[in-house]
């Protein structure tokens, strides 16, 4: 078990900066998700931790040990590839034994450890099967077992669920999380799927364009996104953001959403933060799940553009002052496509972001900078 510290890491490929100053600490035994869209630098970060690539500048430390110049086989890192990279010309047993064999571990010791790990991962019955035709969940366990058998200090997983069927992904998520809890190893998990990050990780590091946007527990990044990128990326659907101007009415700070009308007064804490920041032009943000239908003239004016019932809930698509927005409702919600509606975001659910910088106004104490 080891903590990982990324100290002023940067990485350039030619003139393209894949990583622009990355500073982060991953704690001992923590399950950290690196989350972001493709090209955000998450895989580069992971490859630098593994030693597959060297950083342009900066250092990687495992515990107190500077890993610069330590080659990839000497880092003690277990790596699970996106496609698992199983040695398909070997059977399951040979795959599991590989790491021990190349280190010259005596055969009885190899046998003992292969038996133990196979039992732990419920691979015993497959031990003598060729690995080429195994199902994907067994491949995942095999990939983890093959890395775990050499007892790495750190586990790195590169989008291991991206090739798995939607229906099966939930099962694999649960399995993976329980494995991590059992191994109690530091795990870094790269994904572009916010649901995977939310459900599995102890903390999430959200990245975009080579820049770390926010680090926090799943609920921290969900409740208090540091900027508009995180607000949109986390959540399913992501946070609604409507451009607005802050105005004083009856001594209270409200958001003027143009054609949609003027919002209810902002919560006192948020209003205070907005006043302190001298905010004027903002993004008015609220979660689709924290939206209710208002009666009469209350709330914001919106048009219903699409109603999507997905099993347990109904997602209603709105047009609010020309901006698309969504609401998640119970299935008995009385909204029809093409009709008008009045919407009221919960008073504590509103978040404001500076229109210029995109950064959150107040609220977020978990943001990075």
């Amino acid at each position: 078990m080891t903590s990982i510290r990324l100290d002023h890491l940067t990485k350039k490929f030619g003139s393209f900066a894949a990583l622009k100053t990355m500073d982060m600490e991953i704690r001992d035994g923590e399950f950290m998700a690196l989350l972001g869209p493709s090209g955000c630098g998450k895989s580069t970060t992971m490859n630098i931790i593994a030693g597959m690539e060297g950083p342009s500048t900066g250092r990687v430390l495992f515990g107190d040990r500077d890993m610069s110049g330590v080659p990839m086989p000497k880092r003690g890192v277990g790596f699970v590839f996106q496609n698992y990279a199983i040695f398909t010309h070997m059977n399951v047993r040979q795959n599991l034994a590989y790491g021990l064999k190349v280190r010259g571990t005596p055969q009885p010791e190899i046998n003992r450890r292969v038996t133990t790990i196979a039992e732990f991962l419920q691979l015993t019955q497959f031990l003598d099967q060729p690995s080429a035709k195994l199902s994907v969940n067994i491949l995942q366990r095999l990939a983890i077992g093959r890395s775990a058998i050499v007892e790495p200090a750190i586990f790195l997983l590169d989008e291991p669920l991206s090739n798995v069927d939607a229906a099966f992904r939930a099962v694999m998520r649960t399995e993976l999380k329980h494995l991590q809890r059992q191994f109690k190893q530091t795990m870094v998990y790269v994904t572009h799927d916010q649901l995977e990050a939310m459900t599995m990780a102890d903390r999430i590091a959200v990245m975009d364009h080579g820049v770390l946007q926010q680090v926090g527990t799943p609920l921290e990044v969900y409740n208090n996104p540091a900027n508009v990128f995180v607000a949109r990326f986390i959540g399913s659907p992501g946070m609604n953001l409507v451009p607005a101007t802050l105005v004083e009415r009856d001594g209270q700070l409200r958001a003027d959403l143009g054609a949609a009308g003027i919002s209810a007064p902002l919560a006192p804490e948020l209003a205070a933060a907005a006043r302190t920041a001298g905010a004027g032009e903002v993004w008015y943000g609220f979660r689709p799940e924290e939206l209710s239908v208002a009666s009469g003239d209350a709330g914001l004016a919106a048009g219903v553009t699409f109603v999507e019932r997905i099993g347990s809930r109904t997602v209603v698509h709105f047009d609010i002052a020309g901006e698309p927005a969504k609401g998640v409702f119970e299935n008995d919600v009385a909204l029809q496509e093409g009709s008008a509606a009045r919407l009221a975001p919960g008073p504590d659910a509103v978040r404001l972001f500076d229109r210029q910088s995109g950064n959150a106004i107040g609220g977020s104490t978990h943001g990075l900078h």
Binding site: A166, A167, A170, Q194, L219, S236, F306, E308, I310
Partner: protein, 353 residues
């Protein structure tokens, strides 16, 4: 425009029964979804509609006319393949206009049609680019545009957006639904993603091993599953299916953590199904209860997994309730939202409570 009908269609590949004596009718202008796990027969059905496979027995009809013996070209059905199958040496526009060239449509009308679909799919600005220079989502749109540019009797789509990432998939499926309803054309769609199927289909067929287990609107299939198989496939997290037995005038489930009045349980019930969203937690009363095994906060919702005896029960709660792992809780269920299944998996209608 056309309705599409299968009458007792059977298709084997060697010893494998891919489609087993299947009958259904897709109505004209309908957005129809085939949903099921891999190898359930989804793609074989599509290929038979296209005319790429011939049924071993049974009949296929378009608009009531038999087409079983008609070749794929003459059936005039447009297909979007899972792997998109764009021509890499042609620009987006070249790809889109390709089906028209083959069909000898006159030049002026080609340009007009291409412009129309390009506008509909918001790809006017990338028409000059080669597929290799397009993003996954753009390639997807081009492939769909290539199908739309034709004037076919129906569109078929085989899992066309599965390769996109989650956020883009959510957008694309709404867009597809919008385009289809604008065109008013029959669209047959295959997917293995239950959320996608429920979101876009007017009606859907849930498949298992080459047979249709249920056919109907997504709401119908979700609210009134015909069997425990269908119940398990729809919904995330999936329905809790619990074995129970009658004790002391109650029907007890999950080691007694859930008890239903016996009067509301139909005769022959073996399995009881409860959707996670219909369960709620309460502080434990004396006696039976469940232990919180795992709490997964999703932000707007929280999934709580409970263990009660041998059973694992999932509850989907709104918001971010404070639930401690390993704490004891009582379970409450809305009796009107409980499903009952017989030993063979068939749904039993609930007696009025």
């Amino acid at each position: 425009m056309a309705s599409i009908e299968f009458r007792s269609v059977t298709k084997r590949f060697g010893d494998t029964l891919a489609v087993d004596d299947m009958s259904f009718r897709i109505e004209d202008g309908e957005f129809f979804c085939f949903f099921g796990p891999p190898l359930a027969g989804k793609s074989t059905i599509l290929r038979m509609i296209l005319g790429l496979e011939r049924p071993d027995s049974g009949e296929i009809l378009f608009d009531g006319r038999p087409v079983t013996e008609v070749g794929p070209a003459a059936r005039n059905v447009a297909m979007v393949f899972q792997n998109l199958a764009l021509f890499p040496h042609l620009s987006a526009e070249g790809n889109i206009r390709f089906p028209l060239l083959e069909r000898k449509v006159e030049a002026g009308s080609i340009a007009r049609r291409v412009a129309e679909v390009a506008e509909k799919l918001h790809i006017g600005h990338i028409l000059h680019k080669l597929p290799a220079h397009l993003s996954g989502g753009e390639r997807q749109r081009v492939a769909i545009a290539r199908a739309l540019v034709r004037d076919p009797v129906a569109y078929l789509m085989d899992d066309p957006i599965s390769a996109l990432d989650a956020r883009l998939r959510e957008e694309m499926r709404v867009e597809l639904k919008r385009i289809q309803s604008e065109l008013g054309r029959t669209l047959v769609y295959v997917t293995h993603d239950q959320e996608e199927a429920m979101s876009i289909a007017d009606r859907m067929a849930i498949l298992e091993a080459g047979a249709i287990r249920q056919i109907g609107s997504p709401t119908d299939a979700y609210d009134r599953p015909a069997s425990d198989y269908v119940a398990r496939l729809l919904g995330a997290p999936p329905m809790n299916l619990l074995q129970g037995s009658a004790v002391d005038g109650e029907f007890r489930l999950a080691d007694g953590a859930i008890a239903l009045p016996l009067s509301g349980v139909p005769e022959g019930t073996v399995t009881v199904g409860i959707r996670p969203e219909n369960l709620s937690l309460a502080p434990p009363a004396s006696g039976a209860g469940a232990t919180v095994f795992e709490v997964e906060p999703l932000g707007g919702f929280t999934v709580v997994t409970l263990s009660a005896g041998e059973d694992r029960v999932r509850a989907l709660l709104r918001g971010q309730p404070k639930v401690e792992t390993d704490s004891r809780v009582a379970l409450a269920v809305n009796p009107a939202a409980v499903h009952f299944f017989a030993a063979d998996g068939r749904a039993l209608s609930a007696a009025s409570v």
